[in-house]
Amino acid sequence: MQRIINDPDNVVDDAVRGYLRASPTLYAATDHPRVLKYAGNVDADKVGVVTGGGSGHEPAFLGYVGEGLCDAVAIGEIFSSPTADAFHKAFAAADRGRGVACLYGNYAGDNMNVKLARQMAELDDIEVQTVVARDDVASAPADQRDKRRGVAGEIMMWKIGGAAAARGDNLSEVIRLAQKAVDACSSIGVGLSSCTIPANGKPNFSIEPGKMELGIGHHGEPGIEVTDLTSAKEMAATMCKPILEDRPFNRGDDVAVLVSGLGATPVMELNLLYADVADILEEAGITVHRTYIGNYFTSLEMMGATLTLMKLDDELKTLLDAPATSLALSQ
């Protein structure tokens, strides 16, 4: 295992220590070792925005703590949900008396731990409402959207929900807008190689050289099909097709496009892939309002990329274009 670590069992704690030391103006520690909060806006009169999830997806989730985004984050073991206790402490860290919007992805562990944490928060009189991202079109058909997993579309949910909270919207409005954001997102991933959790020491699954897996999940969940590795141009077409059909996206639509690497694919290739995606969108008469290209939501050292399209209206555009400052996203 060619990795930069100390003890494989302490990778997450050691990494959190690094984030705190590297970015003291962005992160503040809390009384829970697996909860970080935004070091700024401490006196802001706003709805608290919380997210959380397993580690190994950096810069998600903690990279989206900051101005105009999330106020606190619960941090789990690699590819494993944070504890209910951590979510609960994150709610407490983010709450400024106007309630908390917990914006996270649709995974069994996260659903259970957030549910328990909400019960704990009730005892503290902290009002918590949730939005669960379900943007991965490959994880279930359109008529079973409630079963879909959350992937990179979560970033759009944090951006829109975070901007709404930052301008002073109340809790029900923040929730409505975050829900609207994630409902407007469709994503799909392509995996070119596996990844290794340091504590396990061996790859979680395998993708043979020369092959690619369309629709792979952020933890290696099975995709739609394994095919021969194609050119970027063909890959762009293969990824755009199920997304464009899903919403559906139509001629004249305005969209935001997010191309995220899965960890080990060079950023150069993400931009290369985007050029081919942009050609397809142009051909389809779809206008790109804003792009995000880079390692926004990864899966350790997996090779591959995810493509997310978000259909925009004026309300979403205003919030998407609002300023934000964080490790992962600043504009």
């Binding site: 069992d9 397993g54 789990g76 073991e77 590819f79 494993s80 949900s81 944070p82 504890t83 209910a84 206790d85 951590a86 069994a108 562990g109 259970m112 731990n113 549910k115 328990l116 959790i197 504590a199 396990n200 979680n204 699954f205 933890h219 290696g220 969940e221 099975p222």
Partner: protein, 217 residues
């Protein structure tokens, strides 16, 4: 008629801790075949912490189970923390104000644990998970009590059904958790959660049985 003095809870809890710690490597081995390979590590982490937290104390069964639940929910994330946490919390709630429990109260404790778990999870029997052990074991116990069998017979039925339920996961295709990725390839391997659940229920039955007292008729 047999009953359990709930002030013995502390000893029973230490037995549960011990059985998980003894099987740490075995559980990770089972999990390694089709899952992340960390089940033993995670379970041992939670149960060891619980053992340390209750060491030297004298806790009732309810307090002990409640402590176990809160440690599991606080220290194990993922799915196993909330699943086992809810199970033990539900069991703790059911025996909260009881000084002694008879076979019916023990059955209600199991049933309330199961209800509590099902309240936070949609997992079903047949998904290749711990419910494949838990559900038939609880049903077999309650069926025995309904038939008028005594406490020890009902516990034996629970042990047998837990074992059969665990073994049933060998022929199942995983529908839940990380092993779902393997689809058909998950067949032929036991589910690690079903194995740990069988260890815990068997130990619970053994520890309860060895502490039963007979009530004067």
């Amino acid at each position: 008629m047999y009953y359990l003095d709930t002030s013995k809870g502390h000893d029973i809890l230490q037995d549960l801790v011990a059985i998980i710690l003894e099987n740490k490597n075995y559980l990770s081995e089972v999990d390694g075949a089709i899952g992340d390979g960390d089940h033993g590590i995670n379970m041992a982490k939670g149960f060891r912490q619980c053992g340390e937290a209750i060491d030297g104390q004298s806790l009732s069964l309810s307090k002990g189970l409640g402590k176990l639940a809160s440690v599991l929910m606080g220290s194990i994330g993922g799915s196993m923390g909330p699943l086992y946490g809810s199970l033990f919390l539900g069991m703790a709630t059911a025996v909260k104000d009881k000084d002694t429990i008879d076979e019916a109260a023990f059955g209600e404790m199991l049933a309330n644990g199961l209800r509590s778990l099902q309240d936070i999870s949609d997992a079903q029997v047949g998904d290749k998970c711990l419910l494949d052990t838990l559900v038939p074991a609880v049903e077999a116990y309650q069926h025995a009590v309904a038939n008028g069998d005594d406490f020890t017979v009902a516990l034996e039925r629970m042990r047998q059904s837990a074992e059969q339920g665990k073994e049933s996961t060998r022929d199942l295709v995983s529908n839940i958790g990380r092993s779902a990725r393997l689809g058909e390839r998950s067949r032929g391997h036991l589910d690690a959660g079903a194995v740990s659940c069988c260890l815990l229920l068997t130990q619970l039955a053994d520890s309860t049985e060895s502490r039963l007292q007979q009530q004067a008729a």
